[in-house]
């Protein structure tokens, strides 16, 4: 078993494409769920809208990828309004039901035959990312050091991705320390109390839903450009649940919680993957127990176990404040 390369892969995962994608998706979810208490179970759809915004505009319509970005952002706002207008005046659970259903509708539409001409159906789309990589300022070559070495294309998308993460985190910090952020947190605690103090709760919830959705859409841009492919089943509900995992891991309502949560999530996945495969290759695991093809599933089981332990021993997440949780029971 090559411990060195397993560790090196795990370290690389800390700043890898998946970490960026989930960090952005969870940063958006943090605005909605962490600060405003909105149960958005459709974050995957906002990510899909970003991904398909670029992919469809470029491959199908033949437009520059900048148009795809604008279309993605506009569609994301529209989608948030569509979900929010009927549900945000109702009890919190209605939003949860509406978002999870709408998210599946988006995915199933994307993979349907009838829309296949625009979305590529269940095969998805490829060949739309060149416009983005044409902008790459890095000449061909290898960049980075130690475990963090990548070619010029990967370096370019990583740079863009992490700049986006940093900007979103900075913006989150700036607005959440303001009176606007305070209203949002108040709504999370008890929206009637906030209403009684003269705040238009509905408008604030809508703003949070739209903002968080837009950040999810940024994640979709990185997702599609980083992989240079979109495939509808990547945007299933599992994506949303992993995003919640990432958020709770890092600590909800903490600016950097989603970023640290995403890094830990993917490092742990990479580590378990490497260690399990190594152990099987070395013959330490009897064949009847697990084969290499099952490693993919088993590592998610282990992540589930780790998450359960975390929730038992550190329910507030990495950054959370345990005192805050203790208040819930009163």
């Amino acid at each position: 078993m090559d411990i060195g390369s397993i560790l090196s892969n795990a370290l690389a995962a800390a700043i890898g494409l998946d970490t960026i994608i989930y960090a952005l998706a969870a940063l958006g979810l943090n605005i909605q769920f962490g600060y405003a208490g909105l149960l958005n179970f459709g974050q995957a759809a906002f990510v899909a809208i970003g991904s398909y915004g670029i992919a469809s505009m470029v491959t199908i319509a033949g437009l520059p990828f900048g148009v795809g970005i604008v279309v993605g952002l506009l569609a994301s706002v529209l989608f948030a309004l569509l979900l929010g207008i009927p549900t945000l005046r109702l009890r919190a659970d209605y939003l949860a039901i509406a978002t999870i259903a709408a998210s599946e509708v988006v995915r199933l539409l994307a993979r349907s035959n009838s829309l296949g001409a625009y979305t590529g159906g269940s095969n998805g789309l490829t060949g739309f990312a060149e416009g983005f990589y044409d902008l790459n300022p890095f000449p061909a070559g290898t960049y980075g050091f130690g475990p963090f070495q990548n070619n010029e294309r990967t370096t370019w998308i990583f740079l863009v991705g992490w700049v986006l993460v940093a900007l979103v985190a900075l913006a989150t910090w700036a607005i959440m320390r303001s009176p606007w952020g305070r209203v949002l947190k108040g709504i999370r605690e008890d929206e009637d109390a906030v209403r009684a103090l003269g705040k238009n709760v509905y408008a604030y919830k809508m703003q949070a839903l739209v903002l968080g959705g837009l950040v999810g859409t940024l994640s979709g841009f990185v997702f599609s450009l980083g992989r240079a492919a979109v495939q509808p089943d990547n945007y299933a509900t599992a994506f949303t649940f992993f995003t919640y995992t990432v958020l709770l891991l890092g600590g909800a309502a903490r600016v950097l919680g989603p970023v640290v949560g995403a890094a830990i999530f993917w490092v742990v996945l990479s580590l378990t993957d490497g260690l399990l495969r190594g152990a099987i290759a070395a013959g330490w695991v009897p064949d009847g127990l697990m084969t290499t093809t099952q490693v993919g599933q088993v590592r998610f089981m282990l992540v589930g176990l780790a998450l359960m332990l975390l929730m038992i021993y550190r329910p507030q997440g990495i950054f959370g404040d345990r005192r805050e949780l203790a208040l819930d029971g009163r």
């Binding site: 913006a171 700036a174 607005i175 320390r177 303001s178 009176p179 606007w180 952020g181 305070r182 209203v183 947190k185 108040g186 999370r188 605690e189 008890d190 009637d192 109390a193 906030v194 209403r195 009684a196 103090l197 003269g198 705040k199 238009n200 709760v201 703003q207 903002l211 005192r323 805050e324 208040l327 819930d328 009163r330």
Partner: protein
């Protein structure tokens, strides 16, 4: 800025006298006209399925006075509060606040117009600090708009002024040492205090308190009563729901009695508590009334006791029958 003016000690009680004088000639009948009403409600009806929770024909609340709203459990007091403040929609009815129509105006707009309320079940925002709770109460904050939120320069000075005001109010409510604690860590009584202080942050014209004294210890009750009287001295109108008759007698200028959704009696505390309609309302609801040493009230107490004893006897008779 009513909330900012501290009445000088010499003037203590002048507003009380003014309110008493203004209400002296008002007839003691349900729906009586007041000389200077701030709230006027007409034909307000709210039904829950077959149950008519509120059916108020006409009621006026005098400006600058402390009005108590009493009545047995389930009389519709909280529902009436919810209707007036936009937290519930009526099936029928109109009401105005300060001369402008207020029916079917959403809750946050009601609050912005100067009518704020507290809740029977206290709503402290647990995972916000006491100070943040207070700041949330301030109105007209520039930084509460998303477009300006990110630019602290725009709202910082206003925030500072609001913080000073919040700390001053917290001081009055003896919560200043708790300013940086989570509101969720406060005791039940302290939460009541916080909710009241928070409501005052917006300098309201009318404060509506739903059972502000429930669950508060007697020592704290005295200070809460003092605060409520203070509000009147600062020119605010107070409408509050309360079950403790001693308290009602102590602080209110006028009492409105509700039973089964209707206003059944009105008047100054003493006359209301002697009103047969009120006694009937409470007995009809089989409600245990806390009464004070007034002779008419004592009589009522006797009647209640007799009633209760009769009931207990009947119950035991029942039980005996079931056991045998």
């Amino acid at each position: 800025m009513a909330g900012d003016t501290h009445a000088p000690a010499a003037a203590e009680g002048t507003r009380k006298q003014a309110a008493t004088r203004a209400l002296a000639d008002v007839p003691r009948v349900p729906g009586a006209k007041k000389p200077d009403p701030v709230i006027v409600a007409d034909g307000v009806v709210r039904r829950f399925g077959g149950l008519t929770a509120v059916s108020v024909e006409h009621v006026e609340i005098q400006r600058g006075a402390i009005t108590a709203l009493i009545g047995p459990n389930g009389a519709g007091k909280t529902t009436f509060f919810n209707l007036l403040t936009g937290f519930d929609r009526p099936d029928e009815g109109q009401w105005s606040f300060d001369g402008t129509d207020l029916a079917r105006v959403p809750a946050h707009k009601v609050a912005r117009r100067g009518m704020v309320r507290t809740f029977q079940l206290t709503k402290a925002l647990s995972r916000l600090t006491v100070l943040q709770n207070m700041l949330l109460g301030a109105s007209g904050q520039k930084g509460e708009s998303l477009l300006r939120a990110a630019f602290a320069g725009i709202w910082r000075s206003q925030e500072k002024a609001n913080t000073e005001r919040a700390l001053e109010l917290l001081g009055r409510f003896k919560l200043d040492t708790k300013a940086s604690d989570f509101a969720g860590s406060l005791s039940g009584g302290q939460r009541k205090l916080l909710e009241m202080a928070r409501a005052l942050m917006s300098d309201p014209q009318v404060v509506m308190l739903d059972e502000p004294m429930a669950g508060v210890n007697p020592a704290l009750t005295q200070s809460l009563l003092g605060h409520v009287k203070d509000l009147r001295e600062q020119g605010m109108t107070v409408l509050f729901v309360e079950h403790d008759m001693d308290m009602v007698r102590d602080i209110s200028d006028w009492v409105v009695v509700m039973a089964q959704g209707k206003v059944v009696a009105e008047g100054p505390p003493d006359s209301v508590m002697a009103d047969p309609a009120v006694i009937e309302a409470y007995l009809g609801g089989h409600h245990d009334v806390s009464l004070s040493d007034d002779s008419a009230a004592a009589e009522l107490e006797k009647t209640v006791e007799a009633e209760v004893e009769a009931e207990i006897a009947a119950d035991e008779h029942e039980k005996g029958r079931h056991q045998s």
